[in-house]
């Protein structure tokens, strides 16, 4: 399985994956999260499980079940951990624990290493049988609501270690804390190489003229992604350079706020024929892949962001990305080297003009951007890091481990 990544991922990651696989061969590695489809965690697990099997580990993936009330509570929990002011009362905490208790009865939690993803299944630690237990936090815990975080920490502290995506998302919880960024899979439909015909088919379907530069942002219609700011930047650019703006995202049928933001974006775009708002159905991975390859400049002008893996996806297509300096984006964009970090609409417009007017610079940055992703943000490095963390916990107390 991992031989499929040879020639794509750095050789060191593949060598170390094999070495760690030899050390951990035949051991069981259980992942638990709260959904099998949708969202970044599920997407990564779908791709990672076969790699783990490929190096001799016996991985399993369990999903906790809950009713509407449970997921309302965990959504509040998620929001408060990211700093929103919402109340979680004692009854809610009891129900949150109770649903986890019922799941613990149903699930086989016996494994050599257990990775619990995000807050929803965190109380499962109370039903630990054996093995190493690690809590994997995918969200930003840098400025949480104090009470809620303290309550959650009572569970997190019982784990052997926790894992955060970015150092600034971490929080001192009294356990060993690893920093492991998420990743993209270069072989996934969203990132695989496309033929010229496949790309042309997408260009034709969306009516994108060949001779005109394309500015692209791929994101949900969410205020934190600042789609209106992107239109403002496009209008500032348009005074100097002809271009087409493509805003591609999923329709917001189940998200009332998403629908409101989409309408705001449509109103703001008014009747400009050069602003193309593309509503892509879920799983439009080939279309997104092709749009990123067609784009001249890709923006991710977020004002608030988790890790922002769409940036790495765009960089993998050899594009210099203009990204908001927030969340995990500064880890991916080395300003002036693999793209530009911006703090304002003016910044986004200025940097877009720079890239449009300096195609050689844009191409060099794009090449460096792809290499930077190759070195740091592919799923092989991510899997290697999980196994390394597990092995480090088994060898606790050592600063240097020689395999």
């Amino acid at each position: 399985m991992i031989s499929r990544y040879a020639g794509i991922a750095p050789a060191r990651d593949l060598i170390l994956l094999r070495k760690l696989g030899e050390r951990l061969r035949g051991k069981t590695f259980l992942h638990v999260n709260s959904t099998r489809a949708g969202g970044g965690v599920a997407e990564i697990l779908h791709r990672m499980i076969p790699i783990l099997k490929g190096v001799g580990i016996e991985p399993r993936w369990e999903v906790i079940e809950g009713d509407e009330r449970f997921f309302e509570i965990t959504k509040k929990l998620h929001n408060t951990l990211q700093g929103n002011a919402e109340k979680i009362d004692g009854e809610m905490w009891r129900y949150y624990f109770e649903v986890n208790r019922r799941n613990a009865e149903r699930l086989d939690l016996d494994a050599d290493a257990v990775l619990i993803h995000d807050p929803q299944p965190a109380p499962l630690i109370e039903f630990r049988k054996r093995g190493i237990w690690i809590w994997r936090c995918h969200i930003d815990l840098s400025a949480p609501s104090r009470d809620v975080c303290d309550m959650l920490t009572t569970y997190c502290r019982k784990y052997d270690a926790s894992v955060f995506s970015v150092a600034k998302f971490a929080r001192a919880m009294g356990t060993e804390e690893f920093i492991i960024p998420p990743s993209i899979d270069p072989l996934a439909e969203k990132n695989r190489e496309l033929s010229a015909e496949e790309i042309q088919a997408v260009r034709d379907r969306f009516g994108l003229e060949k001779e005109r530069p394309i500015l692209l942002q791929v994101s949900r219609f969410d205020r934190f992604k600042d789609p209106v700011g992107v239109i403002k930047a496009y209008r500032a650019v348009k005074k100097y350079n002809d271009c087409v703006l493509v805003l591609a995202g999923s329709p917001a049928t189940d998200d009332p706020e998403g629908a409101v933001v989409l309408q705001e974006v449509r109103d703001y775009a008014a009747d400009d024929p050069d602003i193309r708002i593309l509503l892509l159905p879920p799983f439009s991975d080939t279309d997104i892949n092709a749009l990123q390859r067609l784009a001249t400049v890709i923006l991710q002008k977020s004002v608030r962001e988790g890790f922002g893996l769409t940036v790495s996806e765009a960089m993998w297509k050899g594009k210099a990305v203009i990204g908001g300096a927030t969340g995990g984006i500064p880890l991916q964009i080395l300003h002036g080297v693999t793209g530009f970090l911006v703090h304002s609409v003016d910044g986004a417009a200025f940097r877009t003009r720079q890239l449009l007017n300096n195609p050689e610079m844009a191409a060099k940055m794009g090449t460096d951007a792809r290499e930077f992703v190759r070195q740091n943000f592919l799923i092989t490095r991510h899997t290697r890091d999980y196994l390394s963390a597990w092995y480090c916990i088994e060898n606790r107390g050592k600063d240097v481990i020689e395999l």
């Binding site: 750095p10 050789a11 060191r12 060598i15 170390l16 070495k19 840098s142 955060f164 150092a167 600034k168 971490a170 929080r171 001192a172 919880m173 060993e176 804390e177 690893f178 920093i179 492991i180 927030t326 080395l334 080297v337 930077f372 070195q375 290697r384 890091d385 390394s388 963390a389 092995y391 480090c392 050592k398 600063d399 240097v400 481990i401 020689e402 395999l403």
Partner: protein, 223 residues
């Protein structure tokens, strides 16, 4: 080419990053935490700065943050001149950091705060070392290997070796095993603070290739 008795065994290493949970918003906090943080964290932010494939403007994380996060350029320059390999151990590096930051704070006692999100996060690493699965038994084999080896091997043998042995592994092997003191000297002459790993790899490959060519000419075609 003749085989020699002690082959060069290429090894690579990676650092698994860990958060210490400590962060500094300004120079006073930086000084206070540098004074107490683990030796592993000082090691990570100074010695292991060279593990990344692309260096930024300065030569350690403290200097980089002083220059870019706080815009205290004079301090960044002073911190950037710290050569961690000059010191006996990490505690001496810590002391030098404290002297420089303390001296700067005496001259400029009201440091500004970094922007929210741009604080200095103290991390540390567990280093995992593993064989790359390639060994060179003569200079020609070494040349092929160094060209295709991951740059992490260059870090392990060129930088990490200085902590272990006080010098790099390459020049030691060239001099002691291969008997090429001039080649060893060419590698020792590399300024470790001015080049990234890829440059060092290319430079060593170039120097070794020139040596292999000379050997072949001397022996009339490598026979």
């Amino acid at each position: 080419m003749e085989k020699i008795s002690e082959p060069f065994e290429f090894k690579e290493c990676i650092g698994i990053l860990k958060a210490t949970g400590k962060k500094a918003r300004n120079l006073k906090e930086l000084r206070d935490i540098v004074a107490v943080v683990s030796a592993g964290s000082i090691f990570h932010h100074t010695y292991q700065y060279f593990m990344r494939e692309r260096f930024l403007e300065y030569t350690n994380d403290f200097a980089q943050w002083a220059g870019e996060g706080l815009e205290e350029r004079a301090l960044a320059e002073e911190l950037s001149n710290i050569d961690p390999y000059e010191f006996r151990d990490t505690e001496e590096v810590r002391k030098r950091l404290l002297d420089i930051i303390g001296g700067y704070l005496e001259r400029f006692p009201d440091p500004r705060d970094a922007m929210a999100g741009d604080e200095f996060y103290f991390n540390e690493t567990v280093t995992i070392i593993y064989p790359a699965g390639i060994r060179a038994e003569n200079l020609a084999e070494f040349l092929i290997a160094i060209r295709f080896m991951d740059v992490n091997a260059v870090y392990y043998h060129f930088y990490d070796a200085r902590v272990r042995l006080g010098t790099d592994d390459f020049s030691t092997w060239f001099e002691r095993v291969i008997g090429k003191p001039a080649l060893a000297e060419a590698v020792r002459a590399i300024d470790p603070f001015m080049h990234d790993l890829e440059w060092i790899r290319r430079y060593i490959a170039g120097a070794v290739e020139a040596e292999v060519r000379r050997d072949m000419e001397m022996t009339g075609g490598g026979g």
